[in-house]
């Protein structure tokens, strides 16, 4: 497991865990960012700028602090998009 903020742009990963309270989980969830979901990091802003994620073709900008709450794993061939 690694933090989402350590993932290189272009890479696809699966969300394993979102730490934090109900509020933050809820906000992520309403944009379809949730445990078990496959996402791609599109870009990572300089000077601690936000990450841009691709979730099923929908792009979402997430601040670095928030993104650090997401732990991910590299996509492995057998896992399905969920």
């Amino acid at each position: 497991m690694q933090k989402l903020t350590d993932v290189k742009p272009g890479k696809k990963v699966i969300i394993k865990q979102i730490s934090g309270g109900f509020g933050i989980k809820n906000r992520f969830e309403s944009l379809n960012i949730r445990e078990g979901k496959e996402i791609q990091v599109v870009a990572s802003g300089p000077f601690r700028g936000p990450l841009v994620l691709n979730i099923d073709g929908c792009k979402v900008a997430v601040g670095r602090g928030m993104a650090a709450k997401i732990s991910v794993e590299d996509v492995d061939e057998n896992s399905s998009n969920g």
Binding site: N26, L31, A43, P50, V52, V60, A61, V62, G65
Partner: protein
Amino acid sequence: MKILLMGNPNVGKSVVFSRLTGVNVMASNYPGTTVGYTKGSLKIGKNTLEIIDVPGTYSLTPSCRAEEVARDMFLNENPDLIINVIDATNLERNLYLTLQILEQGIPTIIVMNMWDVAKRRGIHINIEKLEDALKTVVIPSVAVTGEGIIQVVDSITHFLDNKNKFKPSFKKMQDNERWAFIGTILTNLQKIEHRHPSILERLEDASVNPISGFLIAIFVIFVTLQVVVGLGELLIDYILDPIYFDYYGPFITNVVGSIFPDGFINEILIGTGYEYTESFGLLTTGVYVIFAVVLPFILTFYFMLGLLEDFGYLPRLAVLIDSIMHKLGLHGYSIIPVILGFGCNVPAVLSTRILEGKREKFIAAAIIALSVPCMAQTAVIIGLLGRYGIQYIAIVYGTLFLLFVSLGFILNKLLKGESPEIFLEIPPYRIPHFKTLLKKTWIRVKGFLIEAIPFVSVGILLINILYIIGFMDALTNFLAPIISTLLGLPKDAVGALLLGFLRKDIATAMLAPLNLTANQLVVASTVLAVSFPCIATFVVLLKELGVKDLLKIVSLMIILAITVGTILNIVLGVLS
């Protein structure tokens, strides 16, 4: 009978609303265009239905003011019917809100918008199966072209005949149950073909990449400025100035002169004559300032703004400058209110609702009211200072920019709390629909005219009357020491500075007859830009922030306007 139009941000609710009601509302390609709500009505047979365009929300658990508005309306307005607009290209996420709505048991019609884009992207959705799963009607649509709207009206008619027709029966679900439910229906009825990314899609990613994104941003800003200023000036030089000086001016002078040969009324309507743009007649300078000085820039600005909005560029700019904006106590998305502020501060202050926190809203509103001059004022500044050279315009805007940055920096340090992080959906690039773009430009230009004409007229009338009864002289003498010693301006400038409270464009135009030097014009324009918001902005600030915060902003303004003006006066004096 009440119908609420609900859905995720940026799925086209406002376009569907315009199609159904004929009421023109602003639609853009970014989340949060609708921050308040608009009501319209639709007549079917003998029934008049009230339709409300609700701000977009991702769920019924709100995370910003606009989403709160949406939830409260859903819970408190007792709607008879919900029209849930969803985005066909992003079914999974959109259905989350749909399920939350259906669980409440209110009759619901689902409009699946962006059907054309989904087809182009190779997304196949089995509508019948989706209807079975959601136990209500699903209508594919392309709202910008009007496809599917007739079917929506038909469904509403069916509903009028049988109120239980689209009544859902879902039990309340937990979050994970909802996602599982959505997952199951999607595997059954949605097929996605793999397509290579189009040029637009590649451009999307290049725009948020730190290096190429920066270059693209510079290019976009450069082109925008060129078009707004360049095209605006062309319109003035080749169309509006000739019309005013060759046809309108002589005509109106003759007409008024033949009815009121001289005296008070002639004085107010014509002033010292149309040849002088500083004559301050209601029908000469008043008309000239609105139509030949300000209107051309308003037109070009709103056209370019609409183009960038509909294309979907602005949220990407927000991502690029996010880390800088954090230093100012804001996050990247606040660039949208700021950019709107360059058009008019009123919609800009309203749009601070897309920001989450109270602190952020205050900082954004303060920065906009103090350091972002509206297009009406910019137009007059260009007109007044342009003839002395672009460097003077640059001094005004450079000063305002410095104020923008330092004010944000200081407020960020002074106010407790932290600015929340950016968390925002970035819309896909879309080729703007030209007719919609023109219509939107027109709505905004019309808005400007409706507001400008009465205020400018009242302003000119008021200033003439105040001068005639001698009130202005008394006030001028009273304030003269501040104006002349600190700001280095002649005491006649008091009138202009005070009129700034009514409208900034006409106030700045009042500087013209004072024979100021270029430096004095720079000081006066800057002070006008920083000081009191115009009355319309004042009212929305009061509505959005409350009395206490408004008073804070107003005190900041008075102090900073005098300070900045004094410093500019000293610095410019030393330099020359």
